[in-house]
Symmetry: D2
């Protein structure tokens, strides 16, 4: 039984807390949040205590932490947790600044604690199966990867201001997916972005629509497409093409119902957003973290994966701004 | 918070116990099973105590029971629970004998306690959505219903001997589905059965493959098809046709992955069996039971639904045996 | 180059004439129709002459006939063509009366001419591929067959009066499909029919909705479902289940376009009716007839297949009328 | 009745000749090919005469030409046909050299004859329906377009040497599709290419795998992906995303058959190549040409479309070679 504390009692925190509560080999001992009401409410639902950061990190019975607080607290909490000797599961991104992430990873390395980053999509059953087929050789050598990733609706402009921008906030998931599937690191990136959804996005210095090309040293090509608004739901698809075939993972739907009338044959739209689509992935990523710790293995994706995806996001921003490909 | 005890710590019992444990408005206080080791193991996992039938039914804090023990104990436990004033959720079938079911329902009626029967498929998100579309008028007046229901693999012949036969053990779910979707009661039934999967099935007096036609008073027609063995998994589909169109609910798959190679384009088979396909339905049926109790409403499907489906099963057995349609 | 004459210049005649005209190994020399204007128009489009029955059958250069005239003329034309030594392709049904069909087949047998019946669905690429998979053993031994066949819209009641009724006019195609797929002849049939689409159908003594169960000597089961009206188009599906799996052929659509909006994901309805769905089948059936003649092989499906399907249709009508299964 | 002659009796020539032969409002009078045996064979099949270029162009009864000869003859034949006052349908590309195409279009303009270019994909029923949905406003304002286009197998290296390269020979179709769907002209293009299928392709100075990004003045983004080899068949898909939804056209398959066994559920691969996939498109493009001529309307796509797609292809080659985006 692995005892956790968790930083953050918000939306994503509620998911992780429920998953830890239900896990056979984990116990959630303490919840820490600046919003003490939220912390108490969540703690009550999962039988945990409310704690302060200091108290929780000082508790020798707590072996692991989940960091699900706001992005600007991640790096500090990683360092504090590492220094306290805790195993760390941190929501993405580690930080929006590459220098800060590098410093943070140094502290983790020195402390010798395991660090996992919450790139949840690797644990989606469909994407995990897609990767397993590639590993099994079903499509042969990978030649092109195509990732489509669209959110259902634009977040508030207030959120976008501190989000780090589309590439660091949204496409960072797709950069991780690309690295995970390409089989080798990209060496060149070209990004083209537009503001098509809402002019207010441009006013806060961001874009809402973007496409990116990645190229690896051996010439494998990757396309990524993002939009901040898809009125039909959360559009999350991956296609990998190789010399022996193609494997793709499509959207998941709430039901299998299909209705045929004089107006056409209609089936479900994709799940509305990440809470529905990735419910299983959130369970599975914590499960994998717990299993890795129990085996003494390094959890995946780890701190370096968080850093590498952020570097691609920064390069994309530079490419978009300068209108030219960026060598990595 | 509604306090339950549960009879039965087997496979289906484990599912119900976990769902009660995770439910916000329910508490599982006690597990009762003749196999005390199984009872203790399950009780440990969900924080319940092991109890005897007498002790549990005498506990005034326990307001509701889940009956997930072997079929031959259902009727006695229903009656004992009813006399103890508990609300009852009972796995299907209530009993294999219609007379016994009728007697049992009399006791429940006298006691004035709510009784729900575990026809879980009504709570499958896809079938529930299909029914909602019919109710909304999407397909107009229902004219034909077609239900396909195939298990992945033949159960042990030992199981079949005491199962009550294909119609009472397996097709009973489809009879309930038919009643639920037809909008009126069937008045005639014709059944044709065969033993095609394993000659051993015939030796224990049963069949393994069957098709049935139901007809209602207004002429609505229903087809049901069953097989005890589908090598590609649990095949559970429903199609409803009306004057304004058709609605159908297909199988669900573990992933959305599709692989295209020189040999063809392959996607997932359906979920393997009921544990996977109906995981959400098992959660939802208990949830609906708890909500009905909290509102003082009669839970659905109720005791009469259990009886009516059993009557159809008996009529099917008679039709098959006598080679003629049976009026209901 | 095989020279044909064709009886009938109506809708189905136009299809056959165009297909003969485009065929590399066939020539359409003459068109015969009581409506001389129609005969002339069609003849003009395909470079044929208008002829009388006598003249055409007396022409020694004409080796084969296509009979696409009204049903009540089929038997006489078959006999006259057989006596003239022509190879015969006749639209279904050969006649609505079993005695007449038997007499007709006697004449054909005596004359020793080849006779093919236009059960076009056997030549649909999807159904032909389905049958090929069964023959290849992909699904093992066939255990159940399920045939769904719905027309888009009720024909005029005037047509229904002389149609022979739903079983002989519409389900006869499905009876042929069943015989073709079951691998052995049915020995028992149960039919249940209703008048749900239009009360006028009952007034002319017919039904518009029906389901049938067929059973073979070894216990293989077949379900057929018919409706005279499907507002979403021509619904033509076949599913065959065996001990090694299941093969099914679904509907075909005009395009592969799918639109996802806030209202759901919509794709095409099936093709509207037989002209669209079975365009390839009409080409292929004549092609198979021409190939069979060129090889001196008996064309399939032949006269006996026409008779056998009619016997099933008559049995279905009897079963429906008498409310009991009919032994075949 | 519009009388044609046709230059070219090869594979694509056979298709056009058969379609003209079957067309109600067209007659194919003459076939011209340097290979006189091929010309005679094709002419025999469609009831045309073999002719020389001079003779055919001098024939006043011939009003229109189809140019389906080798690419290097297109420009000369266009000019000669234009000067002879014939309406022209020319296979793509008009020429591989932009200067030559421009000169050629000047001659056509002076002659005042109609010129259509064989971008057949615009006439595929699925892509045509997709475009119609966009025009109807189903997806609102177009924001991103994604075009996937993969050939089943690498052509002979000998062919590649004179093909003009992947962008001019293969992706030119996708450039036309992009222009047709984007609603405005691209202003910037970035191309990344690789040689992954066969090193021999690099040896002849070409690539076999490429991805391209196009951007329009208003910021609409387009992705194109090409491979010269897809072992599962001809992969031809288009997806258009807008503020009101998404519309896509997928592949078409030979049949609708699906087989489910213990190994998974398998359905058809896409049609093998363009002859199968675009059979209807080839018929429809000539039909549209004939209709346009009969109405005195300019046929579409016209000469400028051929030129504009070639300009994009040249820009792609430059972008790929120089590793930078190219402004258009």
């Amino acid at each position: 039984m692995l005892r956790f504390c968790q930083f953050g009692a918000g939306r994503i925190g509620a998911i992780h807390a429920a998953n830890l509560h239900a896990h056979q080999d984990a116990a959630l001992a303490a919840i820490i949040d600046v919003d003490e009401v939220a912390a108490a409410a969540l703690a009550g639902r999962v039988g945990a205590r409310v704690a302060s950061t200091q108290e929780a990190l000082a508790d020798p019975e707590i072996e692991a932490v989940v960091i699900a607080s706001s992005t600007d607290t991640h790096a500090d909490l990683i360092e504090a947790s590492a220094r306290a000797g805790k195993a760390i599961f941190c929501e993405k991104p580690l930080d929006l600044d590459i220098g800060r992430v590098e410093a943070c990873l140094d502290v983790v390395r020195e402390a010798g604690v395991p660090l996992a980053v919450g790139f949840n999509r690797r644990f989606d059953p469909s994407f995990a199966a897609l990767r397993a087929r590639i590993d099994r050789g079903d499509v042969g050598r990978v030649e092109t990867v195509c990732i489509t990733s669209r959110d259902p609706a634009l977040p508030p402009l207030e959120y976008l201001k501190s989000s780090g921008g589309l590439f660091r906030d949204m496409m960072i998931h797709d950069f991780d997916m690309a690295r995970w599937l390409l089989g080798e690191e990209p060496v060149q990136l070209f990004a083209a972005g537009s503001c098509l959804v809402d002019p207010g996005v441009a006013e806060v210095g961001d874009i809402d629509t973007a496409v990116v090309i990645l190229k690896t040293a051996s010439g494998v090509l990757c396309q990524i497409s993002n939009s901040r608004r898809a009125v039909y739901g959360y559009d999350q698809r991956v296609e990998v093409f190789g010399d022996k075939g193609m494997v793709r993972a499509g959207n998941r739907t709430p039901t299998s119902v299909e209705t045929a009338t004089a107006d056409g044959t209609v089936h479900d739209n994709p799940h509305y957003f990440f809470l529905e689509r990735y419910a299983e992935a959130y369970r599975a990523e914590l499960d994998a973290f717990i299993i890795a710790l129990s085996k003494g293995a390094a959890p995946e994706p780890g701190g370096y994966d968080g850093l590498a995806a952020l570097r691609l996001a920064d390069a994309a921003w530079q490419s978009h701004r300068e209108g030219r490909p960026v060598d990595l």
